[in-house]
């Protein structure tokens, strides 16, 4: 339990390591790499203990649940709030509003827990039979008890949402990710000490490796959506720094910028989605709150749909899904171990992890269960198929692997989209192992061949020279292609079965279209990986100098990863394959310990293993390998040799692939070109002519109006009045001055005349 409540140590240690390397790294004998390796080693051990702690925790829960099964079955119709309250008892007060309420309500014996109104209770009751059915499925699993700890980050002062918390949410999903991140990071650290030896920014490189790992651990352990956003952005920044590690060369710094800016596009979706969820979940950032409310119908379906569409945009950029995948192959500009880290354990899986973490939002928002197509599955399937096609025309081995990653991430996204949550997580797990192995293997070859990644021109015949690299690469390729019994076979098959299409039963929906696309993707995967093996390990050596096998710090991580890539499939064996039934302690262990059950997770069902589908996918992979083998090794399939030169349609197809479906052209030339060319000119014209015209026109009108007023009102009316008064006074004076003759007698005469007149008037008036 101590390890479950103190997982914050992991990101903290890595962050500390970052600072130590940054400040003291250069003065140390090994330039700071020893700090990084030690820190990540400690984290790996802690992660192992955490996994062990979770194992015990879950087992204890299961036995408890088994004891209470009879009671639970009796009360199942009522939605069983007390069992759920007990399940969330490891959540620290203050970390989740819903759980806090639940606790107080359970104390009062109030059966209307989880903040449900009557109508929602009814909705929940319909969900209850599903979970009851699942329990009767023989799984007998009690609700997962996530361990949540948090502390106040800051207070907003806004009523109703005063606290923003930061903390750790430990359940199967985060525990397995801790393991994946730390083990890949540890092997990458060790590998890097040899691979980037003598680099001019060796210390800086290790500092950022530490920060990268810290960010990913921080993200994985997120307790609130705010923390997720912070972790997400930190991962983005670190990838920017590491992709642009050799920024002196322009393409590298361009690639870093491209990665960063492309991610910004999706980050808008992330922010909008998180804000929508915050308000939808009654102003709570807590992941638990959002998940519980989303799965019990406490959030409107429309809002969930909106939030999931926004978050899909974020996933598209971070996890390299079509149409925002273009940054990912360019990210190969970074050092190879970084590529391994980015593509296997961090960065790109952040998107997958995000969907898995907020799965109820997608589950309800996209109505995954029972439908046959949805945005998430479609995006994933398109990526899986078209990404795999792109890998065929690459000369650069790392780019092949990059497109392979794009395609495999598509598999995971599709799996999430069709409801095969466990399959997606399991594929993430197995993929991390074999893809890291492939990347590191490619790095090992480039190390031997003068830092070239051009397998077509500079490799060849390395099988004899680099046997360890060859064998590990071969095993990982087999795993990626899905060859029985390597790990990729199990995880890929689980994904395919999860589509609920042909032959399979027990899945959540029926996604025929996606299954077809994924099978095409799987065929291509097998074929292009075989192609890399031909170019790298067979034929004559085409490069310069004498290649040599790499040292132990490079080959040992390869061997470890290849071994893991080969065997981790047994962690999630199906319950039975045809007539063979596995004992309970062997099958579906991954599912038992990783997949949550309970109020904060939808009750998904699991497709059972079916032999026709497995054989079919195996045959497809075998066909891919076989055809490529014939084509390269035996010069077979004459029809296809040089087809693109002879046939216009094939040539056009190849051109489209070489130009990466013209996405880069679309983004840089069409969109950016349009913005800086016609759009900028149009804006300028608009500014000059319309806006300035309006402003100038207003000015000119004002001037004209002023002149008119001056000429007409001021000069004529006002001055006219003033002058007129003067002129009138002067002229009347001129007239009157004649009266002023100065002759007194005249005055007197006037006086008397006036007096006589007045007297006359007086007499007439009175009289």
């Amino acid at each position: 339990m101590w390890f479950l409540t103190h997982t914050w140590l992991l990101p903290a240690i890595m962050a500390l390591s970052f600072l130590l390397i940054l400040f003291f790294g250069k003065r140390l004998p090994r330039k700071g790499s020893e700090i990084g390796v030690t820190a990540v080693g400690i984290c790996f051990i802690l992660a192992l203990f955490t996994a062990g702690g979770w194992w015990n925790h879950t087992n204890a829960d299961s036995s408890e649940a088994a004891a209470g099964t009879a009671v639970a079955a009796a009360t199942a119709d009522e939605g069983d709030p007390e069992a759920e309250a007990a399940a969330l008892s490891d959540v620290e007060p203050g970390c989740s509003k819903v759980v806090d309420e639940l606790g107080t309500n359970a104390d009062d014996g109030n059966s209307n827990a989880l903040g449900l109104t009557e109508g929602e209770s009814a909705g929940r009751a319909t969900a209850a039979p599903a979970s009851a059915a699942m329990a009767s499925d023989g799984e007998g699993r009690g609700p997962t008890k996530p361990v949540v700890r948090c502390s106040t980050w800051f207070e907003t002062g806004v009523a109703g949402s005063s606290l923003i918390t930061i903390g750790t949410m430990v359940d199967g999903q985060s525990v397995f990710m801790l393991f994946v991140v730390t083990i890949i990071s540890m092997l990458v650290h060790v590998y890097s000490t040899d691979y980037v030896k003598g680099d001019r920014r060796y210390t800086h490189y290790f500092a950022f490796l530490s920060l990268f790992t810290a960010s990913m651990l921080f993200f994985v352990l997120s307790q609130s959506t705010i923390q997720m956003i912070v972790g997400w952005e930190l991962v983005g920044v670190c990838s920017f720094a590491l992709i642009g590690h050799w920024w002196e060369e322009k393409p590298n710094s361009n690639a870093a910028l491209k990665a960063f800016l492309t991610n910004r596009v999706g980050d808008i979706g992330l922010l909008v989605g998180m804000i929508v969820l915050y308000f939808a979940a009654d102003k709570s950032f807590s992941i638990l709150d959002i998940n519980i409310l989303a799965s019990n119908g406490g959030i409107d379906h429309g809002l969930l749909l909106l939030a999931s569409c926004c978050l899909i945009a974020a996933v598209m950029s971070k996890s390299g899904q079509f149409v925002l995948h273009t940054w990912l192959p360019d990210a190969m500009a970074g050092p190879t171990p970084v590529s391994a880290l980015i593509h296997a354990a961090t960065m790109v899986v952040a998107g997958i992890y995000l969907v898995a973490r907020l799965y109820p939002v997608f589950w309800e928002g996209l109505s995954i269960a029972g439908s046959s197509v949805n945005l998430l599955a479609l995006v994933g399937a398109v990526t899986a198929m078209f990404g795999a096609l792109l890998a065929f025309v690459q000369k650069d081995i790392k780019k092949v692997l990059a497109y392979s990653t794009v395609s495999q991430l598509g598999f995971m996204v599709t799996a999430l989209g069709v409801g095969a949550w466990t399959a997606a997580m399991f594929h993430l797990f197995t993929h991390a192992m074999f893809k890291a192995c492939l990347f590191l293997g490619a790095g090992s070859m480039s190390h031997a061949c003068h830092h070239s990644f051009n397998m077509v021109d500079d490799y060849g015949g390395l099988r004899k020279i680099m046997p360890r690299t060859f064998w590990t690469y071969l095993i990982a390729t087999g795993a990626l292609a899905g060859i029985f019994p390597l790990s990729g076979f199990w995880s890929k098959d689980e994904i395919l079965a999860g589509h609920g299409s042909f032959f399979s039963d027990g899945a959540n929906g029926t996604y025929h279209l996606m299954l077809v696309m994924l099978i095409i993707g799987a065929f291509c995967t097998a074929a292009y990986m075989t192609r890399t093996i031909w170019y790298s390990f067979y034929g004559e050596y085409r490069g310069h100098g004498t290649p040599h096998e790499s040292g132990p710090r490079i080959t040992v991580p390869l061997i470890i990863l290849a071994t893991l890539g080969a065997v981790v499939g047994v962690l999630n064996l199906p319950k039975k394959i045809g007539p063979i039934e596995f004992p309970e302690s062997l099958h579906t262990q991954f599912e038992q310990f990783v997949e949550p059950v309970g109020a904060y997770f939808p009750s998904i069902s699991h497709a059972s293993f079916n032999i026709p589908l497995a054989l079919g996918s195996l045959a497809v992979a075998g066909a891919g390998i076989g055809l490529t083998y014939l084509y390269y090794w035996h010069d077979g399939l004459k029809f296809f040799q040089g087809l693109s030169e002879r046939n216009a349609v094939a040539g056009f197809g190849k051109n489209v692939l070489v130009n990466k479906y013209y996405f880069d052209w679309l983004y840089t030339d069409v969109i950016t070109g349009f913005v800086k060319g016609p759009a900028a000119r149009a804006t300028n014209w608009f500014n000059q002519k319309v806006l300035d015209g309006v402003v100038d026109g207003a000015g000119a009108t004002a001037v004209a109006a002023g002149e008119w007023v001056y000429d007409n009102i001021d000069q004529k009316v006002v001055d006219g009045a003033v002058n007129g008064a003067g002129v009138t006074a002067s002229e009347s004076g001129g007239v009157l001055r004649h009266l002023q003759s100065g002759r007194i007698q005249q005055y007197t005469a006037l006086f008397f005349a006036a007096a006589a007149l007045l007297a006359g008037v007086f007499v007439v008036a009175i009289g």
């Binding site: 001055r737 002023q740 007698q745």
Partner: protein, 98 residues
Amino acid sequence: MLLNQFLLLAAILFSIGVYGVIVRRNGVLVLMSIELILNAVNINLVAFSTFHGLDGQVFALFVIAVAAAEVGVGLAIVLLIYRNRRSVDIDELDELKG
């Protein structure tokens, strides 16, 4: 004795006075014409007082006193005019002309 006979006399005197004031050029004669006007008024006052009590006679005495003062000032002005211009022709005194 009828009142209107006195009023008629006063009117004739008044008219002669006004005529003298308006027409005569000699300043002294103008002053004398003013005396005629004042005396015409005095006759009126005294005539009315015989029918309405003694107020009119008191007024007449006031008018005589004021007329004496007036003539004093008037003659002094005329004398000064004469000293300056060697003439008392008031037609020549048109400095007030506008």
